[in-house]
């Protein structure tokens, strides 16, 4: 594992920001780090990058414990803070030269590394502009170039598309998609489509705890449901009474019933669908269509975080 963080805890006074977070990132993997605002994403990112200390837990980056050997651990990471702090008085190349030297890039590689980072982050056209004069989209990508400049094995990107307009978001996402094979990436965001667009795997946190961890495709398949087009929704609902406890049935638009498997049920979606359709046909309800519902990550996310909020 490129990054292993175990049982991270952080308190701000009486407020618990992190209550035991585990994160693992493998080399070459893009891990989405999802959570609503205030979930503890930035706090986790700051701990992983060595900017603040945790009250408990352990961080190992590329085999180096962040507490015991901070220099070696930090040499393996590139960090893009959420607020993208930069030095406005420096030009982009001056800034990247400073950062490359600070991160220990040898003189003979510096020029080529800087050029490569500017290309990847698409800021070559503003190389000689003072950072203070750049638009938010460009500043975000200068921050990204900074994170990339020393070719770190691990990238920690804290909400890299926050505050950008749609065109800029598309640009940054394109950059992010290209990072996969060379770097392990931990990408924090509160926008699910971002994870769908660029990540392989995601973990979802809320109130300082991990509430789900899975491949993006698996996350989407959680809490399965299907829509059945029927000749009579009333009769269909009545026929579903014997399934109480196994499924939740509701009337959906266009003369259909939505049949959702009860969360946590071990039953296969397809098996249940067959049983339900058989019951409908047997009860004299015409079945027009059966469509498995593929819930968007947004819905999964809401379901996961809501259920946590309901059990304090």
């Amino acid at each position: 594992m490129l990054l292993t963080a175990e049982k991270l805890e952080k308190r701000y006074g009486a407020k618990v920001a992190l209550a035991g977070i585990d994160v693992q990132v493998a080399a070459g993997e893009v891990l989405g780090f999802l959570g609503p605002n205030g979930a503890g994403k930035s706090t986790t990112m700051r701990i992983l990058s060595g900017v603040i200390g945790a009250d408990g837990g352990r961080v190992v980056i590329d085999g180096h414990d962040l507490a015991d050997d901070p220099i070696a651990a930090k040499a393996a990471l590139g960090y893009l803070p959420e607020a993208v702090p930069l030095y406005p008085e420096l030009r982009v190349v001056e800034y990247l030269a400073f950062r490359a030297e600070l991160k220990g890039v040898l003189r003979k590689y510096r020029v080529s590394y800087i050029e490569e980072a500017m290309q990847k982050a698409r800021v070559t056209d503003v190389a000689y502009a003072p950072i203070g004069t750049l638009s938010k989209g460009y500043r975000q990508r200068v921050g990204l170039a900074d994170a990339l400049v020393a070719k770190p094995k691990l990238l920690l990107l804290d909400e890299p598309t926050a505050g950008l307009d749609p065109a800029q978001i598309v640009e940054v996402r394109e950059v992010l998609r290209g990072l996969g094979p060379e770097h392990g990436v931990l990408l924090s965001t509160h926008i699910l489509s971002e994870v769908e667009a660029v990540a392989d795997r995601a973990i979802v946190i809320d109130h300082g705890k991990v509430v789900a961890a899975a491949a993006v495709t698996e996350l989407r398949a959680a809490d399965p449901a299907f829509l059945i087009g029927v000749s009579s929704t009333d009769v269909a609902l009545a026929l579903l009474k014997p399934f109480a406890g196994r499924v939740v049935a509701t009337v959906a638009e266009g003369g259909a019933v939505r049949v959702a498997l009860v969360a946590g049920s071990a039953e296969g979606r397809d098996g249940v669908a067959e049983e339900v359709v058989a019951a409908f046909v047997g009860g004299g309800v015409g079945v027009r269509s059966v469509v498995p519902e593929r819930p968007r990550l947004e819905e999964v996310f809401l379901a996961l975080t809501r259920s946590r909020a309901e059990q304090p």
Binding site: G50, K74, P81, P85, E89, D146
Partner: protein, 249 residues
Amino acid sequence: MRGFWPLFKRELLVFYATPLAWVLAFAFLTVQGLHFYALLASIASSPEVSDQSPLQAFFGETVILYFVQFMLVIPPLTMRLFAEERGRGTIELLLSAPITPLALVLSKYLAALLTYVLLWFPTLFYVFVIARTGYVDPAVVATSYLGVFLAGAALLAVGTLCSALVRSQFLALILTAFVILLFFVGGLFTFLTKDGTVAHAVATHLSLWTHMMDFSSGIIDSRHVVFYSSATIVPLYVTTRIVDGWRWA
């Protein structure tokens, strides 16, 4: 000390890329020039009255002027060192980089110290002019500048510490100015306390006033050197601990 050079270079670049250093240099050298002119004029008008060498007068007699200079020059040189990085959030960029807290503190401090030394450098011209008009003891010149250097080194270290204590540059400025003022007011106690008492000994030991008088008379008192060395090292050490502590906060 990993990271020292890039940090040191950037710090100097910022000093000279912003108007601050140039405004300071202009104001400082103007005041020093006027001071020097007034001194020469008074010596020229009544050469037999003074029992001091012109140089002693330049560096020693007008200690109050020194305090004004220290108060005007040192706090602006150090106020932004850490307060600005924390205010802007760029401190995250530094703390996540593979550098040591000691390199971070020393690079910033030494950049301020070098700027301070460069500010004083042109005053050698005045000394050169005095040397042309009368006798100047090279030893006195050397010890005088040593005094200016040691006092500046210590006060800049205090300023660096103040900048790490607060997030606001303005607060850091005020805090540093107050500490310098404290040294000055403390020095007054050498005149208020009786010779031979403990209070007098303490006041004398801490008084920048007494120190400058000795340095400008060509005297290097090892106690003064020890005082300034510790007044430099202790604040820098504490600053390093504070910066290291941010990782655990």
